[in-house]
């Protein structure tokens, strides 16, 4: 080995050493990519205006033919949902919509089911509600506390599916969209229309929304007229 090669070696070692340890300098304190839960949902959501406290959200969903495998692959956890959510300042939330796949540990395949989920006092709960809508049906989903008494109701059309006493009479944020646990879950293109929020007194159509998430294969696009009409899907091509 010549002197020059030795010198190169001397120079290279600390550089290589530096590169080896540099990636560890910035630890990730929060969940990466998959947002709050660490569960890597392919998610698309639109969220309403930042300015106002909201006492509810409702939207008309064209029920899609959600496709999961007969065993709810992968690992029995395959799941897809089109839903509307209300988020509270303490991190709690309520969502209601239509789902297929694994719900509360049981694999429900081949049909769509009304679906309720919520977090309260740091516990996450999910339920398959009674009734199985058919693809193509138009169903209103609603989460709201329109009389501002902190008791929130979740509705499938006009049928009350849940009543939950929460800590607030307003949500800090409402959203609607599609989620799937895996890219193999198919949620064919469908529409969410007449998206409305309750301002504590009346229902109003969304006049603003913000495309918050764009993960994996899920997609969401605004259609005409903007804000209150949306198309969503997991897989397939984005279009209205």
């Amino acid at each position: 080995m010549t002197f020059t090669k030795k010198l190169r070696l001397i120079l290279m070692m600390p550089i290589l050493f530096s590169f080896a340890i540099l990636p560890n300098v910035h630890p990730a304190y929060g969940a990466e990519n998959c947002d709050s839960g660490g569960k890597c949902l392919g998610t698309q959501e639109l969220d309403s205006t930042v300015s106002f406290d909201q006492s509810g959200i409702k939207a008309l969903v064209d029920i899609p033919n959600i496709t999961t495998s007969s065993t709810c692959a992968p690992n029995g956890n395959g799941f897809g949902v089109v839903s509307t959510w209300a988020f509270f300042a303490n991190g709690e939330w309520i969502g209601i919509g239509v789902a297929s796949g694994q719900i509360d540990g049981i694999c429900y395949d081949s049909e769509e089911h009304y679906y309720l989920e919520y977090m309260q006092d740091f516990d996450v709960n999910e339920f398959k509600l009674s009734g199985s809508p058919s693809p193509g049906e138009d169903i209103y989903f609603q989460v709201s506390d329109t009389n501002n008494d902190d008791t929130w109701q979740a509705y499938v059309d006009t049928s009350q599916a849940a009543s939950l006493i929460m800590d607030f009479d307003y949500a800090s944020e409402t959203s609607t969209g599609v989620e799937a646990t895996d890219n193999n879950i198919s949620v064919p293109k469908t529409s969410i229309t007449n998206v409305q929020e309750h301002d504590g007194t009346d229902w109003d159509y969304w006049t603003y929304n913000d495309r918050e998430y764009d993960q994996q294969e899920g997609w969401i696009v605004q259609c005409t007229p903007n804000y209150k009409n949306i198309a969503v899907g997991v897989g397939g091509t984005e279009s209205c």
Partner: protein, 216 residues
């Protein structure tokens, strides 16, 4: 042209510089390791939710609104009697002051966030990140005039299995006792006149939160 000796000296100088830089980087990494040991519940909240179907949380700005520099600014904007806790756990400091709504709107939600001195909370994006980072969130929520506090306390305690009656400086409140080891959060709620004060944390349990609340 440099002589062989000059090249050698130059090489030594460069090596020394790079080595020194590497040592500094290593040192800062070691500090973070020490901090990680002092903050044993980092990311526990996210880990507890891995097997759950959880929708992505909105951003801190969308949930809590605009940031303010001082408690005085926040009090002026929100017209809420916000106080900085003087009974914080060791190593915890004031991080963020927020309230929702445009300047023309009445604000009903004011938020004060505390966290470890070693973590830059301006880098965090969601409430989940805050709870993952040993944060304590204090929410000041103005109730509606029609709100029946006694009925609400009764309903919550009877209908929500994890809740229990507590006292915060002799004021009746509601607590949820979580478990930091399992990433299960704790909660303390009490009222001062028509304002609900709610504290939440994952790293600090209900007893810690009551202590923080006692000076609010």
């Amino acid at each position: 042209m440099l002589t062989r000796k000059q090249k050698f000296l130059l090489g030594l100088a460069v090596s020394f510089t790079v080595m020194t830089t590497s040592m500094l980087v290593f040192q800062s990494d070691s500090l973070i390791e020490v901090n990680s040991q002092e903050l044993p519940y980092l990311n526990k909240y996210s880990e507890s939710l891995i097997s759950k179907k959880v929708p992505p949380m909105p951003s801190i700005e969308r949930m809590y609104g605009s940031e303010y520099e001082t408690i005085t600014d926040l009090k002026t904007r929100s017209n809420t009697d916000v106080k900085e806790s003087t009974t914080l756990p060791d190593g915890i400091e004031l991080k963020l002051l927020l309230t929702k709504g445009t300047p023309e709107e009445k604000s009903r939600l004011t938020t004060v966030i505390y966290g470890p001195t070693s973590i830059d909370y301006n880098q965090l994006e969601t409430l989940t990140d805050i709870l993952d980072s040993h944060g304590i969130v204090v929410l000041y929520h103005e109730e509606q005039r029609s709100f029946d506090k006694n009925q609400w306390y009764e309903d919550v305690l009877s209908q929500r299995e994890h809740t229990q009656p507590i006292k915060v400086a002799n004021i009746a409140g509601i607590g949820v006792a979580g478990n930091p080891e399992e990433g299960h959060g704790s909660k303390v709620i009490f009222h001062r006149e028509n304002v609900q004060i709610q504290l939440i944390s994952v790293a600090y349990d209900m007893i810690d939160l009551i202590r923080v609340a006692e000076s609010l």
